[in-house]
């Protein structure tokens, strides 16, 4: 154990408070009567759950079709994760292992795509999907995010490090290229699968700008957009808004708890060898 300087320790605590305070505010506020939330917002009492009840949560469920938004988010995120694992996994495998003309150029292109932020292509993409008539569907929220340069890169570098003999043994044992990928490569790629699944999930679950642009109806609207709309609905009840936020964050926390071992394994795997 290394001893930290007292100043550094104090700074770390300060940072931790800055990050945790809003979360604590949200959770505590969601349990309080609406009138109290605003009145106590400026004081430390904001972190004390006085008169705690689940009334705000009931109100949210009564005022809007929260299950619908939750389902929309689950469908969009789930489909993106599932399709993304297949597409990016195969792409990374092809780049790392198969020999084909243009492989190097394709790899360079994928790496170049890493530096382009989504916001830069949002408008041309919006124009494109409008032409295709895809607006206000699940498809338009899923398809543009299935192929992902970062995920391809993660798979690619993982497969490069996988012992080649495993695949050669599978080939000699009677498996073709796809069968080898499915039966031998993927089962040994769990750490990278988990990492890609989690990063994709987090990205899609919190995605706001794109669904705001392309969705108009409640039937396909995901949680972040629904929350933004909910904030504008009169009467503006801060306790309800905070309760909405808690319900939106809960699945992410659940996912983190479920995947924590895989997360750690992935981190160890990506770290220095030996």
């Amino acid at each position: 154990m290394r001893r930290r300087a007292p100043l550094a320790g104090a700074l770390l605590w300060a940072f931790a408070l800055v990050y945790l305070a809003p979360v604590a505010f949200m959770v505590v506020g969601s349990l309080k009567p609406d009138a109290l939330v605003l009145r106590e917002a400026g004081s430390l009492a904001a972190f004390w759950p006085e008169g705690a009840s689940l009334q705000n949560f009931r109100d949210v469920l009564r005022r809007v079709d929260f299950p619908r938004y939750l389902l929309n988010s689950l469908i969009v995120t789930g489909a993106t994760v599932a399709l993304g694992l297949v597409v990016n996994g195969l792409a990374g495998y092809a780049l790392a292992r198969l020999r084909w003309r243009g492989r190097r150029a394709a790899l360079a292109l994928v790496l170049a795509l890493l530096v382009i932020p989504f916001e830069a292509i949002a408008v041309p993409l919006f124009y494109l999907v409008s032409l295709l008539g895809w607006r206000d569907t699940y498809t338009v929220q899923v398809l543009p995010f299935v192929a992902n340069a970062f995920a391809v890169y993660l798979f690619y570098s993982f497969f490069l490090d996988l012992p080649r003999e495993l695949e050669e043994a599978a080939r000699v044992d009677g498996a073709g290229v796809l069968r080898t990928f499915w039966s031998v490569v993927l089962p040994n790629a769990r750490p990278v699968l988990a990492t890609v699944a989690v990063t994709t999930f987090l990205f899609q679950w919190g995605s706001f700008l794109w669904p705001l642009l392309v969705t108009t109806s409640e039937a396909v609207r995901p949680l972040p957009v629904a929350l933004a709309v909910f904030q504008t609905l009169p009467p503006r009840q801060w306790g309800d808004i905070l309760a909405f936020g808690v319900m939106m964050v809960a699945p992410v926390v659940l996912l983190y708890l479920l995947f924590q071992p895989a997360f750690l394994r992935g981190a160890r795997l990506a770290g220095p060898k030996g």
């Binding site: 495993l166 000699v172 009677g174």
Partner: protein, 389 residues
């Protein structure tokens, strides 16, 4: 009908040039008979693993043809060749149990479940793996992993079994034990086998026939004792045996009605008649066990070779002496193939009871077994002569 059997492996004019221009194999012909165990041996980088990978279909040849079990397989992918392979690091599937690993090749061939169970049980019994079927590769010792790899290769009764240095990751004691098991297993199953190794002792003890490979070319193929007794090249002579054959610079001369052989300062009278090979420089090979110290002290006869002892290794049942001859060990006139093969010192193999020379001492020795004469340029065998009396 022996000799007409369609099985086995036929390789014709096999050539492999890698994309970077390196030549892995240059035009190689080799036949392995059905049921035979052929050991492919050579120093690292000689192309033996390349040859195995070409036969397995893991690499594509630049030219040449491969037939397995009477069927042309040159263009076929690995899964269509009916070969099995054991890799140097075993390449067991980490996510499957031992039973899962053994079953894998059968599952890939869509064998019914009951038949798979039966075969796995059979091969597990053959290799003594019954108690380990539920374990994963990470929970096995090196020797157990090796057995599982063998089992996975044998379980579907392939037309051809390829072994790529299967014993080199084991410690010495286990290696010797598994070497014997491997030979017994091959005899029992009768599967045509090509075993690649860089260990000449493995080649000598294991193979029905041994093929020595150097720089992408076959130097010699034959039964181990034939290779040991009559090496076709200076390279094979020096490579086989532990230590290998000594190579000394010599010269053949016609003299009167007969001939003489001069070796590193010693002069031996041959017989009457013409010399066994053309006059001039030769590389003289002699086995370490065929050099005996002269009894008694000086003065030494002209026929004795005097050597400066550099190192002495006592092995218990015998003693190895490494000594330096007078003059150059490998003269500049020798070709690359001969110079590269020649050991840097002259080795003597002495019985444990014999007087043990000390380092720094000079010993006089005289050949007591055949002398092999090789052409100094390319290293091909010219003749063998009996030792001078």
């Amino acid at each position: 009908m022996a000799g007409l059997r369609p099985g086995g492996l036929r390789i014709e004019g096999l050539r492999k040039v890698f994309p970077d221009g390196t030549v892995g194999l240059e035009g190689l012909d080799l036949t392995v008979e059905e049921g035979e165990l052929l050991v492919l041996v050579g120093p690292s980088g000689c192309g033996k693993s390349t040859l195995l990978r070409l036969v397995a279909g893991l690499e594509a040849p630049t030219a040449g043809r491969i037939r397995i079990g009477g069927r042309e397989v040159t263009g076929l992918p690995p899964q269509a060749r009916d070969v099995a392979m054991v890799f140097q690091n075993y390449a067991l599937y980490p996510h499957l149990t031992v039973a899962g690993n053994l079953e894998f090749p059968l599952r890939m061939r869509r064998m019914p479940r009951r038949e798979r169970r039966r075969r796995v049980a059979e091969v597990a019994a053959l290799l003594g793996l019954e108690g380990l079927l539920g374990r994963r590769p990470a929970e096995l010792s090196g020797g157990q992993r090796q057995r599982v790899a063998m089992g996975r290769a044998l379980v579907r009764r392939p037309a051809l079994l390829l072994l790529d240095e299967p014993l080199s990751n084991l410690d010495a004691r286990l290696r010797v034990q598994l070497r014997a098991e491997l030979a017994a297993l091959q005899r029992r199953t009768g599967v045509t086998t090509v075993h690649v190794t860089h260990d000449q002792a493995e080649a000598m003890t294991l193979g029905h026939r041994v093929a020595v490979l150097r720089a992408g070319r076959l130097e010699q193929v034959g039964p181990p004792e034939a290779l040991y007794r009559e090496p076709a090249t200076a390279f094979v002579a020096a490579f086989l045996g532990s230590p290998g054959m000594n190579l000394l610079p010599g010269r053949l001369r016609r003299e009167g009605g007969g001939w003489t052989l001069e070796v590193a300062g010693a002069r031996w009278a041959g017989g009457e008649g013409p010399p066994p090979a053309p006059e001039g420089p030769v590389a003289v090979g002699v086995r370490p066990e065929h050099l005996s110290p002269e009894p008694g002290e000086a003065p030494q006869p002209a026929a004795a070779l005097s050597l400066a002892v550099a190192a002495v290794e006592r092995l218990g049942h015998e003693t190895l002496v490494h000594a330096l001859p007078p003059g150059e060990a490998a003269p500049a006139g020798w070709g690359e193939a001969v110079r590269g093969a020649a050991p840097p010192t002259v080795a003597l193999r002495l019985p444990a009871q014999a007087r043990q020379p000390a380092p720094g001492e000079t010993v006089a020795v005289r050949p007591s077994g055949p002398l092999h004469l090789f052409a100094p340029a390319a290293g091909e065998r010219l003749a063998a002569v009996e030792p001078p009396v």
